[in-house]
């Protein structure tokens, strides 16, 4: 089953993950493209909605306890329908959703605010290595030992200290950016 394959890709190579994405693309994109076309959307709309839906699907599939009753293709289509309504502020009633599709939830923070986008850009410019390390920690589900190897630290203790230093560094960036820009100018 596809869901299981996705879960197993968390610690896989980039190439292996891309092979899974490719399979999902070929299996799920046709129905999403058909749906967007029926809604009078463009190819670009279909591409954007589908890619967003795939990101959400992967995020859900990599979470423990995700056991959808729908196949991956139908689940991705369900997410795409929700995204279509949310992104283009369309009337929910104009989009036909099955009971299973209605039960699908999408993250409320999926489309970030302009402030959050600027903040991420700022943090990326000053601390990309920290972002990568913390991403590996929270989303790669790697052990401290694996993280130490991946990021070139001599021990699990070193990488643990670095993780907390990175949290502190990004925290300071957020504080700085919030107090110097948003609070005064927005």
């Amino acid at each position: 089953m596809q869901t299981a394959t996705i879960v197993e890709t968390r610690n896989c190579t980039k190439a292996a993950r891309e092979r899974v994405f490719e399979q999902l693309y070929e299996r799920a994109f046709p129905s999403v493209a058909r749906f967007v076309s029926l809604m009078n959307g463009s190819f670009q709309d279909a591409k954007d909605i589908f890619q967003d839906a795939l990101v959400i699907y992967v995020e859900k599939a990599e979470d423990t306890g995700f056991a959808p009753s729908l196949s991956p293709e139908r689940y991705v289509l369900g997410i795409a329908k929700h995204l279509w309504v949310r992104k283009f502020k369309r009337d929910c009633k104009a989009v036909s959703l099955t009971d299973e599709e209605l039960a699908i939830t999408i993250p409320t923070d999926f489309y970030p605010t302009p402030h959050a986008v600027r903040l991420l850009r700022f943090v990326e410019a000053s601390g990309k290595k920290c972002l990568d390390l913390l991403r590996g920690f929270y989303y790669g589900k790697q052990t401290m030992h694996q993280l130490a190897e991946t990021f070139g630290y001599s021990s699990e203790h070193s990488v643990s200290v670095q993780k907390h230093k990175c949290l502190g560094k990004i925290r300071e960036s957020i504080k700085l950016k919030s107090f110097t820009y948003e609070d005064f100018f927005e």
Partner: protein, 92 residues
């Protein structure tokens, strides 16, 4: 003022639910009384939100490169054409 590493660890343990029931209760009482601690927790939660956003951006980049590969691969032109057919009468 910069936060100490031990405070960061403590807040991490709280956010991850790794505290004992007693320690967690005590931490929640401190949260009510201490605005500085509330700010620490809020900022650390914001760091996590930002990392989630970064993770999504990276996955989106991976998915985007798969799209480019599929749509530029002559072997998969049948698939690409079948998709584009849905939009042939629409303005791109």
């Amino acid at each position: 003022m910069k936060i100490s590493l031990s405070k960061i660890r403590e807040v991490e343990n709280f956010l991850d639910g790794r505290m004992s029931a007693g320690a967690s209760l005590l931490f929640q009482v401190r949260l009510v009384c201490d605005p500085g601690l509330r700010l620490d927790v809020a900022l650390q939660q914001k760091v996590r939100d930002l990392i989630r956003m970064y993770h999504r951006k990276k996955v989106r980049e991976e998915v985007g490169s798969v799209h480019e590969r599929i749509f530029s691969d002559p072997v998969k032109s049948g698939f690409s054409q079948s998709i584009l057919l849905h939009f042939k009468d629409k303005q791109q």
